[in-house]
Symmetry: C2
């Protein structure tokens, strides 16, 4: 049987990783797929470098449109990134009846509905294992491995840059700015790290997982996105003393507000019990914890980025497409796990309506009655306190830190209580609020 022909758009880090792994393991992959998988064309603006990397093994062009238009190409692998030209090329490839593999989470989180609809109509597959958590086959686990389950929630460490920074901040007691510079020096953070450290990248991935878990469209615009730039080393230390670690989690969760179903979709720094397996995922590693009603909790761990881990996911998609290309399109695995005509419109909840626990830190005057005022405000808002830590004021200081962990409560009630606490004359500055998940 003749090999399936692949056209690669962009041969940067992931593209060259894909080329290398396909070449190195071609025999092993053919033995699995039952058919060779051959990169027949590569498009890259840097034609010289692309020629060098591919060593004359395939045609190299500067214009990606030549690839998506080429009649011999069966599968287009989009590794350009971004929303502009990538969207145009993916839609064009679909229109030309080609299957698509992409690692582009930004594109799918924002234009996924349009892309999947076009693919559905044309009867082609769009595969995107590499878009979430790099080499970890989490899309496959959610979409195929856990199909028996009503998924209750997903919580993932899905951005390696921020997890590396948080691990270093904790290990070395350093502040965010210092560690960010180190991460940039080591190549764990990009020159412009905004998408990572502000939580945007994690939110793209959480958005994609929420659609697959709950059968809803991708809705990145409704996600709550909060990064780690404001996180202080002092809060990491206090959390540790209370038995918690702080991780940037992407969370997608079924919820109910006044008896009406909703979905929580949020990315923010989160305290999690130190004894949980996921709390011990360190450095640039990723992990996703999934709670299903039948299976209980399952966890998936591995490298979330890098040339070859991401190539591993891209190639798994190529093999899947090779295997599934002969199946009746109506019976292939649906793009978003649920059949297109069986999606629901369960709304994404605004942050004010989400329910979780909270870590609250406030700087207070070291004088009688302060704690009584604060606990009264919390009690009025029906917020229960689960644990408390009060430090003696440092030598010569008249102020001290109070840290409280609350029971599960609705965000709007916590916000209201915080406003009242901040208005107390004995409380200095703002209350630091970090959400807390037990993940049990």
């Amino acid at each position: 049987m003749k090999p399936i022909k692949v056209g690669l758009l962009g041969i940067g880090t992931v593209g060259s990783g894909t080329f290398q792994v396909l070449k190195r393991n071609q025999e092993e992959i053919r033995r699995r797929a039952g058919r060779g998988i051959e990169i027949a064309m590569v498009a890259d603006l840097n034609v010289e470098r692309a020629r060098e990397l591919t060593g004359g093994a395939c045609e190299v062009v500067a214009d990606a449109r030549q690839v998506v238009e080429h009649p011999d190409i069966d599968i287009v692998v989009e590794l350009i990134g971004g929303y502009g030209i990538a969207r145009e090329l993916v839609l064009k490839a679909i229109a030309n009846g080609k299957h698509v593999v992409t690692a582009n989470k930004a594109l799918l989180a924002t234009h996924g509905n349009e892309i999947f609809k076009a693919a559905q109509e044309k009867g082609v597959m769009v595969a995107f294992e590499a878009a979430v958590a790099g080499g970890i086959p989490i899309i496959k686990a959610l979409r195929e491995g856990l199909t028996a389950n009503r998924i209750e929630w997903i919580a993932g460490i899905i951005n390696g840059t921020t997890n590396f920074i948080l691990s270093e901040m904790r290990d070395k007691g350093l502040d965010f700015d210092v560690v960010l510079k180190e991460a940039q020096r080591l190549g764990y953070a990009e020159a412009d790290p905004t998408f990572d450290i502000e939580g945007v990248d994690a939110a793209h991935k959480a958005t994609i997982m929420s659609a697959i878990a709950f059968g809803i469209p991708v809705q990145f615009d409704k996600a709550h996105v909060e990064g780690i730039t404001k996180l202080q080393a002092t809060d990491i230390r206090y959390a540790e003393q209370l038995g918690y670690r702080i991780k940037l989690l992407g969370i997608a969760k079924r919820a109910e507000v006044n008896g009406v179903a909703g979905i929580e979709l949020r990315v923010h720094p989160t305290l999690i019990p130190a004894k949980r397996l996921i709390a011990n995922v360190e450095g640039a590693m990723n992990a996703v914890l999934v709670q299903g009603d039948a299976v209980g909790a399952t966890l998936y761990y591995g490298k979330g980025a890098g040339a070859e881990p991401t190539a591993s996911a891209v190639i798994a998609d190529l093999v899947d497409i090779t295997r599934l290309a002969t199946a009746d399109p109506g019976h292939r695995v649906p793009h978003l796990a649920f059949q297109p005509n069986a999606m629901t419109d369960t709304p994404i909840l605004p942050m004010s309506e989400i329910t979780t626990s909270y870590y609250l830190r406030m700087q207070v005057a070291d004088q009688p009655g302060v704690l009584a005022d604060i606990t009264r405000i919390l009690a009025d808002a029906t917020i229960s306190i689960d644990a408390m830590l009060q430090k003696e004021p440092a030598e010569g200081e008249s102020q001290t830190d109070i840290i409280m962990l609350t029971h599960q409560t609705r965000e709007k009630h916590v916000e209201a209580a915080i406003a009242r606490i901040e208005a107390l004359p004995t409380v200095a500055g703002q209350v630091t609020k970090i959400r807390l998940e037990q993940l049990s």
Copy 2:
């Protein structure tokens, strides 16, 4: 589209779990599969109980042959267990053109080659996600998620009973016999726990994973099977002092002996560094660590047994078959990951030829020259020592324990050195040998 019809053979723990989850989540599952999945027939010797469990929702028969012969049944789910009647029924179902789902690791590890060959010839699927690590989709990860990789090794905690016992022995400092009784009382160990505690169950699962990882036939008879019954609480404590945990691991690993490729396939108690994520998998939980050349290490964690976790895997297989039934049989996912005509005959190595590190404990006389004799014997066998722990003799005792951790070495060299050490007049009794894996 009319539902796909399933016949259940055996409605014990997993069977009733499967029935319940399919019923509870039928709407969710139909939205994913694009087609209903209906249990149309159940066979169980206890017809009364089966009728009660199914509440009249389907036909109940005592004779399983009626199910595998029935023209309306599309998929047969075998949950009887054992090698005898189960094998016969599975082969009969295949001969009748029915797809098969089974949770029966004993059957597949011993008769898998025969069963997969029959299924291949008949063009039907035999799915068995539930046979390894319960609800964790590890078969799917290995067979589909990691297809880009040359798998280098797999190491798994794949028996919940023994992991529960080892966790309790460590936590409470109790001996094996005591904890086994507790495990039986709590339902974590069966009345006859032989298959679990002697490592046979783990070896069945490791055998299946080895075939999928390396493209070799299942060869349970070549597996090295060693349980936890001889493990002493004292070794767990010493391991802890050296920074290690002891887990019963199922290991499948590529190796080379004198330039010739081989496979290590072994189940035994293993020291692993306490800081590894998998070392912190406690109680009855399972986890499998997979090393691929492109993706690096990935880990899969969850419940390895129980009614609903196992049902989760059985139903995922049912959905997969529903989706793949329309695909050209030659393009479906191969049973053992590699195409049947692309399997290799890489041999499973005898234990004497495997290479790993070792924990050695010896009871020695507290007198000069003993350590010199021992280290000389090890040096003669070119075995390097990585760490050593020597205890002062207890009050009034003339003997003491020496514990050594070795570098990587071949098992036969260690065995030869142990024989020489045991022959020393200053060494009492036998040397305790436990294998050690860094898993990095």
